[in-house]
């Protein structure tokens, strides 16, 4: 069992949990992820290690309550335990000798961005960060990122905080002002990463993206997470999750992401039904 030591609400739909996971913290690196199951019948879901503390043997995960399992996860509180948690999985993000990096986080994708930028910050890299969300209440880890960024830009679709628009608007603006970066690290919805790459590719600014396709085992066994990188099939679980954004077939990723949409809906309805049933019983 994997004990939840702390839990807090990040915003209306995003939560953060600190979990005791000594085997994970022994060797985990930024860019890696874990897979967890909430209960005995639960599905396996991958989540990025958003932060870790080797001394305390804890990892932090940040998740948005979007589906069945994240809703179940959200029902747990500090002191409860998860039945299963395995990791670290995936490849650590390779860090080259960068001097100046632009981080771009969209929505809850800001959570996996944070450990990567934190690592760069520790190595003295100068970081600019753009974070975006639909509205101010959906922003994630703003304070944490402010602490490690030279400049932090906030963008919201509705203009409720920071500038109004998309993260790509801010990216264009920065580049048009003549800002230069050794690398852009963009993590967020697939469509956002695709849009970022469309801009950076034309200017040949190396861009790293993080993919989170559907996966079951996370150890290379099922092949469900396969993605096409430069025309070649790769497994995100063992070859990724970070890839060179220029080489990713985003259209295929988006199609594969949506394959179980009807089932996700059915599962959510079932959960909603059972929660209401519980409520009525009480």
């Amino acid at each position: 069992m994997y004990k939840i030591l702390g839990k807090k609400k990040v915003n209306r739909v995003v939560e953060q949990m600190t979990i005791h996971a000594p085997l994970v913290t022994k060797r985990c690196q930024p860019g890696q992820f874990i897979i967890l199951r909430v209960n005995e019948l639960g599905e396996r879901i991958p989540l990025t290690i958003a932060d870790f503390d080797r001394k305390q043997e804890t990892i932090t995960i940040v998740y948005q309550i979007v589906g069945y399992t994240t809703a179940l996860l959200s029902n747990l509180k500090a002191g409860d335990s998860l039945v299963d948690l395995v990791g670290p999985l995936g490849q650590p993000k390779p860090f080259n000798n960068f001097k100046r990096v632009l981080g771009i986080g969209g929505g809850v994708g800001t959570a996996p961005l944070y450990p990567q930028l934190k690592q760069l910050f520790k190595h003295g890299v100068e970081i600019d960060t753009v974070i975006g969300a639909r509205s101010y209440e959906l922003l994630v880890l703003e304070d944490e990122l402010k602490n490690i960024s030279n400049r932090l830009f906030v963008v919201t679709d509705d203009g409720s905080k920071g500038s109004k628009g998309y993260v790509t608007d801010k990216l264009k603006e920065l580049l048009e002002c003549g800002e230069e970066y050794d690398e852009v690290i963009a993590i967020g919805p697939l469509a956002m990463m695709e849009a970022v790459v469309a801009i950076t590719k034309s200017l040949d600014i190396p861009t790293s993206v993080s993919l989170n396709p559907l996966m079951i085992d996370g150890t290379g066994m099922c092949g469900g997470c396969r993605v096409t990188i430069a025309g070649e099939v790769k497994f995100a679980c063992i070859d990724g999750p970070d890839f060179d954004g220029f080489l990713v077939d985003f259209r295929e990723c988006i199609a594969r992401q949506n394959y179980y949409r009807a089932e996700e809906h059915e599962c959510k309805l079932a959960l909603k039904g059972s929660i209401e049933h519980e409520k009525n019983k009480n």
Binding site: R27, L41, V86, G87, C222, V233, E263, A270
Partner: protein, 455 residues
């Protein structure tokens, strides 16, 4: 009187395609006695030498005849700790039964069915397992057939064994790969419980290499490490359209159903697309398992596409017959060349017709494409079951380990030792996808060589 071989009773095909319960129902006591009496107890015992773990077959069959099932069990367990599993999934027709002297002018003795009879009998017994205690410690990576066999052999002589499993449930391919109707999970659970009673410690959710390393395990006082990490990486066909929605690897499809209970969606939250027109590519046991699972999930038509003819189909004969009874179609001499799709979803598969040419190095006649013979099969789900290569994860994280060009760990065949001192390996991690029993044989050989070295 010349008796004919007794066949196990089976669930009728028309009923069983509606459920996941076991197909073959096992012998009654009377059937076991009758079949046991067919054994000639010949002095040469070719059956024993063709068994990868050398079970004393005529010996245990004699004890069945004597009504001494406990003795029969002890005789089998002395060589093979998992008879209820092997009795079900071993390809006996290619091993012990292939060499059975009775088979020269009659059907061979049903050794597998008899082994299963004793295995099942033992599941209901509370054996007091005697294990001497020693001060030796060994770590086993992977709880599949190789790891379990190795752990049993080590624990038997009193070695403290820790088994590390990456998934959340034990059994490896016996859990995620082989469907319930061929190997019920309660059989697997009971066999694993026996190992627990023998003192073996199991740890799930541990990925050696990523969290703990070989170095860590040696520092913790393990005197040897056995790597049975299995054949984890699915092969694909490398044809256009293979990443369309609706294309699964056999591993993914089976894992969703066997490990994650997708058949019970939505009460189990992991889904699987059951499909209506399902194509399974490949001709091995895994392909047949997949096809029969698809049928049980409700697919109207399930078709196996294989590039050679029925004669070369590598699956077990018994399973081919079962599949045919379950109305699985066989589209033979057909080579897939593309998966077709619309709006990112599978709509069919384009194939070429083949004919058989000269035998290749495997001795099977090589399939040769017939020009302009392209045709399209309709499909909404395609499952690729053309084999797996060894799991790359452990190897990636253990760079000093020598591997061959297919990613198989290189071992000394007599000792199963690898290029790293104190590290042994066996099973599919060495050979690529093979049989349960050959993996168990390798695990056992490695254990024996570990015992020789440390005790």
């Amino acid at each position: 009187m010349k008796r004919i071989r007794i066949k196990m009773n089976e669930q009728p095909a028309i009923e069983r395609i509606e459920n996941f319960s076991e197909v073959a129902l096992g012998y009654t006591e009377e059937q076991a006695q009758t079949e046991a009496a067919r054994c000639l107890r010949c002095p040469t015992q070719p059956c024993v030498s063709s068994c990868p773990v050398n079970v004393p077959i005529p010996g245990f069959i004699t004890e069945i005849l004597n009504n001494n099932y406990d003795k029969a069990y002890q005789l089998i367990a002395g060589e093979n700790f998992l008879p209820a599993i092997c009795g079900r999934v071993c390809p006996q027709e290619q091993q012990c039964e292939a060499r059975c002297v009775k088979g020269v002018n009659a059907e061979p003795v049903a050794i597998g069915s008899l082994e299963r009879f004793i295995g099942d009998w033992s599941l209901n017994q509370q054996h007091t397992v005697k294990a001497s205690k020693s001060k030796h410690k060994v770590a086993v990576l992977g709880s599949g057939p190789a790891g379990l066999a190795c752990a049993a052999e080590l624990a038997r002589v009193g070695i403290e064994v820790s088994v590390y499993e990456a998934l959340h449930a034990l059994g490896g391919v016996l859990r995620y790969g082989i469907p319930e109707f061929r190997l019920p999970k309660h059989v697997l659970d009971t066999e694993i419980d026996k190992l627990k009673r023998l003192g073996v410690k199991f740890y799930t959710n541990v990925l050696i290499g990523n969290s703990l390393t070989v170095e860590d395990l040696l520092q913790e006082g393990n005197e040897a490490i056995f790597v049975g990490s299995g054949a984890g990486l699915p092969r694909f066909l490398g044809i256009p359209g293979e990443n369309l929605n609706g294309v699964y690897s056999a591993n993914e499809y089976l894992t969703r159903v066997n490990l994650m209970n997708a058949g019970r969606f939505p009460s189990s939250p992991t889904p699987v697309k059951s499909g209506n027109e399902v194509i399974v590519v490949g001709g091995g046991n895994v392909a047949l398992d997949v096809a029969r699972v698809a049928k049980r999930l409700g697919a109207a038509n399930v078709t196996i596409v294989y590039r050679r003819s029925m004669k070369e189909l590598p699956a077990r004969k018994e399973e081919i017959i079962h599949a045919q009874e379950e109305m699985i179609n066989f589209k033979l001499l057909s080579q897939p060349i593309a998966v077709t799709g619309e709006n990112s979803e599978v709509t069919g598969m384009e194939c070429l017709s083949m004919e058989l040419g000269e035998p290749d190095e495997s001795g099977r006649r090589r399939p040769v494409a017939i020009e302009n013979s392209n045709f399209i099969l309709k499909a909404d789900v395609v499952i690729v079951a053309v084999g797996q290569t060894p799991n790359p994860l452990f190897i990636k994280n253990t760079p000093e380990l020598a591997v061959n060009k297919w990613g198989g760990i290189i071992v000394d065949q007599s000792t199963m030792s690898t290029s790293i001192d104190k590290v042994y390996a066996g099973g599919d991690a060495v050979t690529g996808a093979a049989t349960v029993i050959s993996a168990m044989g390798a695990g056992k050989r490695a254990a024996q060589s570990i015992v020789r070295r440390i005790m």
